[in-house]
């Protein structure tokens, strides 16, 4: 590890300020900075020796055709040798994908239940928008009812709430249309 930087001014914190009992002012911005460096930071990087492809049946690295593949990139799926395999945030990434992501977070999940709930609640601020968004919210709720939960389980209460609100809205709109069709609130009949 070469250096660490201040979280406020991004200037380097000198090694003399590392692992102190109390926070030390940054030499540039004077904000209190506490730097805790762990032993792995001082270890030299381990040399990596990729294995060679022996037979034609073995998968080879995308970047190095003579190296045997040991993993696939979690982002693009390319085969990687030990040399190209970057261990980032608990996953395998190829150098090209790693460069595209400043802070790799490979496990990303869309919360369709939150989207469905937002579709049936937020547009209520505008009177005409729920005509479109309520069926969309109901569609999302049913389509992703059994979608696998992410790393941390989420209850289905959002989906239930979406269905209940959508049904109430559709009932109200239906009732309103019936009311209009009977000529009580709409245009006068001849």
């Amino acid at each position: 590890m070469g250096y660490v930087v201040c979280g406020a001014c991004s200037m380097r914190i000198p090694p003399a300020n590392w692992n102190q009992a109390f926070p030390v002012p940054c030499p540039v911005c004077a904000r209190d900075v506490a730097v805790t460096v762990f032993p792995v930071a001082l270890q030299p990087p381990k040399p990596v020796f990729p294995e060679r492809v022996v037979t034609g049946q073995e998968a080879s690295c995308y970047n190095h055709a003579t190296n045997r593949a040991v993993a696939a990139c979690d982002a693009c799926g390319r085969f990687l040798c030990a040399l190209c395999d970057i261990d980032a945030a608990g996953g395998h990434v190829c150098p090209a994908c790693f460069e595209r992501r400043e802070a790799p977070a490979l496990h990303e999940r869309v919360n369709y239940d939150s989207i469905a709930l937002a579709l049936v609640t937020l547009p209520m601020l505008l009177c005409w928008l729920p005509i479109v968004t309520t069926p969309a919210g109901l569609f999302f709720a049913f389509k992703f009812w059994s979608a696998p939960s992410p790393v941390f389980p989420r209850g289905r209460w959002r989906l239930w709430l979406t269905v209940i609100i959508a049904v109430v809205q559709i009932t109200l709109v239906g009732w309103f249309l019936v009311y209009l069709s009977q000529g009580r609130g709409g245009l006068p009949r001849e």
């Binding site: 201040c6 506490a34 001082l42």
Partner: protein, 306 residues
Amino acid sequence: MRRLLLPREWGPLRYAELWQADDALLYVHSSRFSDRYAQYRLRDIQALVLTEFPVWNGWRAAWLGVSFFFTLVLLLGPPGAWMLWALPPGLVFLWAVLYLARGPRCRLVLHTAVSTVTLEAVRTMAQARAVLPELQRLTEGTQGRLAPDGLTVMAMPEAAEPIAPAHSTPLLLHVFFGMLVLHALVLAAFYFAGKMEDGLGLSATMLLAEFLLGVLATLRWRMAGPVVTVVSALVVLLALADGGVLVYSTAKSFGGFFVAITRTGVKPENVEWLWLKEQTVGRAAWHAVAGLLGWILLLTSRGVRP
């Protein structure tokens, strides 16, 4: 097995969490509609950099001052509908107060060989004081500790005792139980002033706020511990029952809610509140008991552990 290291850090459009897995930290950053997970193995963590920011700066002072100014102007302005317009700046002012009450802010940056990430789950120094010793203990338990010379690695004992995290009590719980005590004092003031009917509107508003705060306090059971959580849940139930009594007696006195809102010119002297004295005394009593009990629990437990 996973363990939440800190309560969820909420934001208007996002939240963040920091979990401990078996041999890794799990960082969750959510924009409500999508969650991003990143895992950092303890043996890969190279450094943690904590930078402290002062609680006051020009923007925050302006935020507080401007919102307070407009709230005050609209409240003290000409009578009438102007007072209603004090609500938006009043909410902004309240937000500023709650924001500043959380104390100095900070930024915690985690370094590994291939990534540098700001942990959004730690945004205040109080959170940092609670979680940083635990992060150091976990990481040093895996890697060992650097000697003061900065070069030698000292092995840590395998069964190192967990460092007791810094005790901290969530502000929410203090506000919640403080509001109960304040409500009891307000009711007592109206009782002894002989104007119990004037306090019912304020009491209803405070009951609603207590219900919402009680629900939030109950949801923070991880921080609050079982006893305080039970008390919070009990307060929620009592607030519901008490609100029901209030609504019932109001409706009874006015001859029905819908009649009340459509009737114009109801004279206060014609309103006969049901059990007004009993309501006020009972409401003040349970508020005082629950509020003081909650505060005693908070103070005697010397804070709660995340």
